[in-house]
């Protein structure tokens, strides 16, 4: 059974159909990349899977481990193991990164029937994870994402992912706004989580990220549909030739 199964998914925003029948199956251990031009529905797909309000699913199904995801509220989906690394993480003044991380971690632990994390263990965990991502440990004292640079925000997303250890991680253009060094660090963070029990959906605009996070499958999303699928060589081809051919076919 696929870990994440998306079947003929149709979704509209503000009455306009954006996703027009997406079918995808992520097997445990796999990394799938989705590439496509701007405005084609990549973030819409990730938001629909994560359960954001304002998106109407008009047709199709999404299953996590065989469980119907579309029936669950966003927080339930997250506790069930879906993680979305946001393209544009929001700034939340007044809420420290540390309070937020601890609350999120404990929500997951409670759902799994585990006790809340001990304060010392929490600090140790954050220390270890921030070190891996080359982040100053002190940053957890700052309000969540407030005043973080673009790159810091993306690292913070990956930090959250490595702490929450999801079953399925969706990375929505996590590479945008990163310089090459940050890109490497973030990719290492992602790669360190790759495991036979976990799957990734890596959304990107550029092939560059896929040099570091090597995908098993690459899909082209154009006009709300998967226009082509292939191996990692498809990403190279897209880099060289662009998306024009897929847009034309779809039109």
């Amino acid at each position: 059974m696929a870990l994440l199964e998306i079947k003929n998914l149709h979704a509209s925003v503000a009455g306009k159909e954006i996703l027009k029948g997406i079918t995808l199956a992520l097997e445990p251990g796999e990394v799938h990349a989705i590439m496509g031009p701007n405005g084609t529905g990549k973030s819409t797909l990730s938001n629909v899977i994560a359960g954001r309000e304002g998106y109407e699913v008009t047709k199709g199904e999404v299953y996590l481990d065989g469980k119907d995801v579309l029936d669950m509220a966003a927080d339930e989906r997250a506790r069930a193991g879906i993680f979305l690394a946001f393209q544009y993480p929001v700034e939340i003044p007044g809420v420290t990164t540390s309070a937020f991380l601890k609350t999120a971690l404990n929500a997951k632990r409670r759902a799994a029937g585990q006790p809340e994390i001990d304060a010392m263990d929490f600090l140790k965990l954050v220390k270890a994870k921030t070190a891996v991502l080359g982040m100053p440990y002190d940053m957890i004292k700052r309000p969540l994402n407030v005043g973080f640079s673009g790159g810091e925000k993306k690292r913070a997303e990956v930090l959250q992912m490595t702490m929450l250890e999801p079953r399925v991680a969706i990375l929505d253009e996590t590479d945008s706004g990163l310089d090459i060094d940050a890109l490497k660090v973030v990719s290492e963070g992602v790669n360190s989580l790759r495991s036979p029990e976990r799957a990734f959906l890596v959304i990107t605009h550029y092939q560059r990220l896929l040099d570091y996070i090597v995908p098993d499958h690459v899909h082209v999303l154009a006009n709300g549909r998967i226009a082509a699928s292939g191996g990692k060589e498809l990403a190279l081809e897209l880099e060289a030739e662009g998306y024009a051919k897929y847009l034309n076919t779809a039109a």
Partner: protein
């Protein structure tokens, strides 16, 4: 002649007779007084209050009153000092005395307090006070609606410093009306930090007046928290009387049900080169009503004044109302004055972000409310107090779920 401000009240002859003192001849502030426009006292005036007597049996401080680490406790019950419930020694640098309250001019509530306050709890601060002084004012109504008039006087001598916490709490029972007055004098170069928490019974009235004078080079840092009661007003009047005085006056309120809370501040810049800042934040739920009136007065001589104030409120429901009225009266020309006001609701994008991390909606809302109030609460420089007040807010949030 002022317009008719009179409303009926029960603080005349009969009230005075029960206390065996001369009666107060004033009137409660009425709705035609501009300063009281948003906080009408109609419901208060309908109740016949009797004086709180000290024979109410209160033999312990309510457990809800926090123990603040490293603080000495001074306990008032119905405004009267209770040595048996207080720490033996107010700590190095602080001297305690009890005096008659002098009847002075002031608002009608201050005069009412002066007429009927049992005695004043007076703190005299010389040098650096070692310990936080925690004043616990307990309202204990008898079998009838009860009024009490606590009076606190703090005199910080030149160069001295002290940190005060005031907890105003009520015992459940009949309704009561607490009318506390605090007079604070900050001497030259002295520092007074004062943190006030008002967490009265849900049927209670609390109309507090703080009269603060800050001399040259003095610092007054205050934070006022309002968490309930039927009707609460915290009026804080600060006069900066000497150059280079610095005032940081901040506060937060969190209201549910039909609670009404009013912060009225008057910041009076009289001399040059002083600074004042105010950050007030409120969260309103249910059918509650929040008021912030902030007047900044800068006299013609008070050049180089730096005065700021901001009030922000967050609606947790459609039922509450907020009245916000900044007033800048500036007669000097070389000053920096700024005020800001905003109201809003919880941002759905914030909620989704937290949900996407597995945080349930109620916890997410609590986290966001605490975050919203944080930039006011974080102004509290005394760490144990900051933590305590944050915990009080968290408790309020839990209770509302």
């Amino acid at each position: 002649m002022k317009p008719s401000l009179i409303i009926d009240h029960s603080f005349g002859e009969a009230y005075a007779k029960r206390l065996g003192v001369a009666p107060w001849r004033g009137n409660l502030p009425g709705p035609k007084l501009e300063e009281w426009r948003f906080t009408p006292l109609r419901s208060l005036a309908k109740i016949a209050f009797t004086p709180a007597t000290d024979d109410v049996s209160v033999d312990a401080v309510p457990r809800a009153v926090p123990l603040i680490a490293g603080a000495v406790r001074l306990v008032l019950v119905n405004g009267a000092y209770r040595k048996d419930l207080s720490s033996a020694d107010p700590g190095k640098g602080v001297e305690l005395s009890h005096g008659k309250v002098a009847a002075k001019d002031g608002s009608s509530l201050v005069a009412l307090n002066a007429a009927y306050a049992p005695s004043s709890l007076a703190l005299h601060v010389a040098g650096a006070a070692k310990k936080i002084v925690h004043i616990v004012s307990i309202s204990a109504a008898g079998s009838e609606p009860t009024a009490l008039h606590p009076r606190i006087t703090v005199t910080a001598e030149a160069g001295s410093s002290v940190t005060l916490v005031e907890s105003h709490v009520g015992l459940p029972g009949e309704t009561y009306f607490s009318n506390p007055v605090a007079s604070i004098t900050v001497g030259e170069g002295a520092t007074v930090r004062r943190y006030v928490s008002v967490d009265e019974d849900s049927a209670a009235f609390h109309l507090a007046t703080s009269l603060v004078k800050v001399a040259g080079g003095g610092t007054y840092e205050a934070f006022h928290l309002g968490l309930g009661g039927a009707l609460t007003r915290q009026e804080i009047r600060v006069a900066l009387t000497g150059e280079n005085a610095n005032v940081r006056l901040n506060g937060a309120y969190a209201l549910s049900g039909a609670s009404h809370h009013d912060f009225t501040t008057v910041m009076d810049h009289i001399v040059p080169n002083c600074a004042s800042s105010q950050v007030f934040k409120g969260v309103v739920d249910g059918e509650s009503h929040g008021v912030y009136q902030g007047r900044i007065h800068v006299a013609r001589d008070a050049q180089k004044t730096d005065a700021r104030q901001v009030h922000k409120a967050l609606f947790l429901a459609r039922g509450p109302a907020i009245d916000c009225k900044p007033e800048l009266e500036i007669y000097a020309d070389d000053v920096q004055c700024a005020h800001g006001a905003a109201t809003g609701e919880i941002d759905p994008d914030h909620l989704f972000y937290l949900a996407a991390r597995g945080i349930d909606a109620e916890t997410a809302r609590s986290l966001l409310v605490e975050g919203f109030l944080a930039d006011a609460v974080n102004e509290i420089s005394a760490e144990p107090v900051r933590e305590q007040f944050a915990a009080d807010i968290a408790r309020w949030l839990k209770a509302r779920q």
